[in-house]
């Protein structure tokens, strides 16, 4: 699971009104190279919950992102490379996702988050 996906995931169990951003605990990460595309990165920024992204990036060991993204940052090659690396190249292999509202824990095994709900949750 990449941080791109982490940023989009939400717990949609019954009774949970705002099941995102999910908390992240990590025990193993892996880096796989991905194609660098500044256009895609620029397009993703408004979609991301930037605060949640920065927190998650800190969990996987990438720190030092600015608190907000300004248009002139898109000209900054170093920033884009770092953003690209954290968003698309680092894969969380083993870990846990935690719902901010209910505290429900979703396990990540072999890079696949298990978002299956129990019968009483849906």
């Amino acid at each position: 699971m990449r941080l791109l996906t982490h940023n989009m995931l939400a717990n949609n169990a019954k009774g949970v009104t705002k099941g995102f951003p999910l908390g992240l605990e990590v025990t193993a990460v892996e880096t796989k190279e991905a194609e660098f595309n500044p256009d895609f990165l620029k397009k993703m920024v408004p979609k991301l919950e930037w605060g949640a992204f920065c927190e998650a990036a800190a969990v996987i060991g990438v720190t030092g992102f600015p608190t907000a993204v300004t248009p002139d940052l898109f000209e900054d090659e170093a920033f884009l490379k770092k953003f690209h690396n954290a968003l698309l190249e680092v894969h969380v292999e083993e870990g846990v996702l935690i719902c901010p509202e209910s505290g429900r824990r979703f396990a990540i095994n072999k890079g696949i988050p298990n978002m299956l709900l129990n019968e009483d949750e849906c």
């Binding site: 996906t5 995931l9 595309n37 299956l116």
Partner: protein, 296 residues
């Protein structure tokens, strides 16, 4: 044609052997590729050269994902079968994978995707694999969360193998009730082999649906219309008696004259709108009084 939905739930049917078989079969790969290509064509993504983010529902072993990657788009796939996802990991699918049940909804934040595709998966929702499964509610949950997860104006193309016309209608109706516009596209309708159903859905696109026509355009009055709302004094007092002095059949406090045909029609209509497919047709016999049981 055998239907895997009838043998076992998806997460059981697509076990390790079935998942390997599925992905190793060149015939399956070809079919999946053609279906995905057609789905992407119907998705009609803007050709501005920038990669899009797509959702693949029931991504399985990532065969459809490979085609999406070849087109240069990013994708996130969800599937209920851990074995299929494991195979997807092995063949190094480029998209991220989620273990999730579409009947429990798409576990995503609102307005994330530029489009969604699904190849041969959604008909599984019509099966109840456990007592907690209700196809009607699962379809509703799936389509409402799918709608939410799509960006406004985005499309979802769901290729399905409906068992019957009724099932296709059930799926389409569920999508329409969730707010989608669009409909079913049937490729090669006259060929038993090549016939393919694509449910083409648009989220929040410009609505083309015409407004319902106003009543009374022909100069009639609302009193002539039996369906228009009537204002009348509330019936008070005891239950009204029938002509012979006995209580009217089915009379209640709210319906002193019995509920009547219009009430039955209204209830049946409401049931249909809720998505129940087993509501009998309205005929001249609907809510007709039964014959007296007494033989004279």
């Amino acid at each position: 044609m055998s239907r895997p939905e009838h043998t076992a739930p998806a997460e059981v049917f697509y076990n390790d052997t079935e998942a390997k078989k599925y992905t190793a079969s060149t015939r399956m790969m070809e079919i999946q590729e053609t279906l995905t290509k057609r789905a992407l064509e119907l998705l009609a993504l803007p050709q501005d050269g920038s990669p899009k983010l797509l959702l693949d529902i029931g991504c399985g072993s990532g065969l459809s994902g490979q085609t999406i990657s070849e087109e240069g788009h990013h994708w996130i796939g969800m599937d209920i079968s851990p074995s299929m996802l494991e195979v997807a990991q092995e063949i190094e699918a480029e998209g991220d994978l989620l273990l999730a049940d579409m009947g429990q909804g798409v576990p995503m934040r609102p307005a994330m995707f530029d489009g969604a595709i699904s190849i041969s998966a959604v008909q599984w929702l019509c099966n109840a694999d456990s007592t907690a499964h209700n196809p009607r509610l699962r379809l509703k949950q799936f389509f409402s969360t799918l709608y939410r997860s799509l960006a406004r104006g985005a499309r979802a193309i769901l290729q399905i193998y409906p068992e019957s016309m009724q099932q296709a209608e059930m799926i389409t109706m569920a999508a329409m009730r969730a707010g989608f516009s669009g409909g079913l596209v049937v490729d090669y309708p006259n060929s038993a082999r090549a016939k393919k159903h694509y449910l083409c859905l648009m989220a929040g696109a410009a609505t083309t649906a015409a407004l319902p026509a106003a009543k009374g355009l022909d100069g009639s009055d609302d009193e002539d219309d039996p369906e228009s709302v009537q204002f009348a004094e509330r019936a008070r007092g005891k239950r009204r008696k029938g002509a012979d002095g006995g209580a009217v059949a089915g009379a209640t406090k709210r319906h002193p004259d019995g509920k009547g045909r219009n009430w039955v029609l209204k209830k049946k209509d409401k049931r249909r709108k809720q998505g129940y497919m087993d509501v009998p047709e309205d005929t001249k016999y609907t809510a007709r009084k039964r014959k007296s049981k007494h033989l004279s």
